[in-house]
């Protein structure tokens, strides 16, 4: 499921709010928020469409898990799907 929006990378473009097929994100006055994590179907589409590699979808589709954002960034795991499909 979607676990993180990286505040450092997110530009507030709201593409994820539009592109998520199950309407998981909400806009705010600032950057978007994960408003309905339970509706996430773990399709990784938000990651693919995020131009800043600011989103991370954990592989567990059934329950939320805790993630270490710094480690994900250090290991270049954030953005790995976009690279794999040739979109970055």
């Amino acid at each position: 499921m979607i676990e993180v929006i990286d505040k450092e990378r997110c530009t507030g473009c709201n593409i994820c709010v539009h592109a998520c097929p199950t309407n998981v994100f909400d806009t705010t006055a600032d950057i978007p928020v994960i408003a309905r994590q339970g509706d996430c179907q773990t399709c990784y589409m938000c990651e693919a469409w995020c131009p800043e590699d600011a989103l991370y979808v954990a592989p567990n589709a059934d329950k939320a898990v805790s993630v270490d954002l710094a480690a994900l960034k250090a290991g270049d795991v954030i953005g790995s799907y976009r690279r794999a499909i040739g979109w970055s």
């Binding site: 097929p21 179907q41 589409m45 592989p59 794999a84 979109w87």
Partner: protein
Amino acid sequence: MSGQIRRPEEIASGGGVREFRTDVLVLGGGPAGTWAAISAAQRGASVILADKGFCGTSGATAPSGTGVWYVQPDPAKREAAMASRELLGGYLQDRRWMARTLNQTFENVDQLARWGYPFHDDGVGFQRYGSVMGPEYMRLMRKRTKQAGVKILDHSPALELLQDEDGAVVGASGLFQQAGERWNVHAGAVILATGGCAFLSKALGCNVLTGDGLLMGAEVGAELSGMEFSNAYAMSLAEGSVTKTRFYDFAEFTDANGDPIPGAQSKGGRSVIARWLMSGPVYASLINVDPETQQAMRRAQPNFFLPLDRSGINPFTDRFSVTLRLEGTVRGTGGLRLVDESCATSVEGLYAAGDAATRELICGAFTGGGSHNAAWAMSSGYWAGAGAASYARTRRVLAQPSKVIRAGKAALIEQSQRGYDPLAVTQAVQDEVFPYDRNYFRSELGLKHSLERLDRLWRKVESADKASVLHVAQSRQAAAMVATARWMYRSALERDESRGMARRVDRPQQDPGPRYYVRSGGLSEVWTRRDLQQPEARVLEAAE
């Protein structure tokens, strides 16, 4: 496109409702819906496409990679392509539809190449002309849909169809989910391209596929066909969502002790795995794959490896726990019955395409993979778009109907009983359709017991008061899933044999008598009917 594009009009707005007028309304923005919209627009129709999610990411195709049933127009190759599927499909295919799907798919794939889809050949056979990466394909289809002059409404689930006094479908009504407003689209024709029903199983991309179009169709009296072919299960990492099964052909399946499970295979031995999963975990490992092939597999289906990599699993050396997630009618073949080559349903003004329509015409009783569904989506979408555009043209000259009737019932009309909790209803349906011992291994007794509970659930749903704007989309989804499960199990009872994926543990044999289709429909009272296969459709078993 030329400058002659006919555009839909917004004719009124206010009070939280926006009204539009268009020639053709397409519901659903996956491959079938986008091909339908483009095809209708190319024929001069004004077109609105409404997707419950986002056209470009919605549905089973966008997050996947899929083969396409793409065969060179060489008579021997085409013949072999058709014949190779007939035994598997229980001989319920229709040769005429198979041939025209192969023709149309060949043309549409060429069109994709002309539009700039980056087909390439990796030389190892995992990527070829006629195999598409979902994200790229659907991003391109969104762009071409917009360029064709189609108005796309994203996050705009349709809730119900609109009819005129003669019963013809003249539009639909829905919700702008993110704005909380309603929409009404008055249309000359409506195409249901809403996909199949996977019951919110989290099979890849399938959670927008909840049978919404089947419910809307049934509410105007449309007939369904082949709903017994609805128990496809696909393999994924135990807690993962990526139900791409192709690479499991390389897998060795083992039990908790690491011992091979006798007879367990992804293809031809999946039921063994399902039985094993009822009592304990099943592990997979992709064995005997050389490094070059491993790299080709990564390039061909990056998303297969994504959850594995992120879980720290090397699938070529490690054993990892797997499960089977229900794909229901998405990888099944049942759906709305088509009555002619324009993909018209049994209701005037209503068309169906893609997984919302029956795929028995090309797959019969079984579809093992996405390639036939992908071919069907682009072909049936193309035909439905053409059919709806030409029908809508005849409607333009008719007077506007004096009265528009809202066809939706469940969760949409005022009633005395309290509204239902959509999550509780969803859970109750899932309890009937997810368990392998109920849906994978069906029996008369099991089906009847499930139907008693599902019928009770439906009575609760149909007598409940209308849902609030916050819950109406979820409530309609839940209602659609209850209805779909009832058509599935009633059809499974009607088919008094095992054929294709519709296996009955108490009727293990295929009936050698005349072949028939199981039609179904109805909401308060679900009905089924057997229609004999027409002689001209029949494929020759002697050819095997």
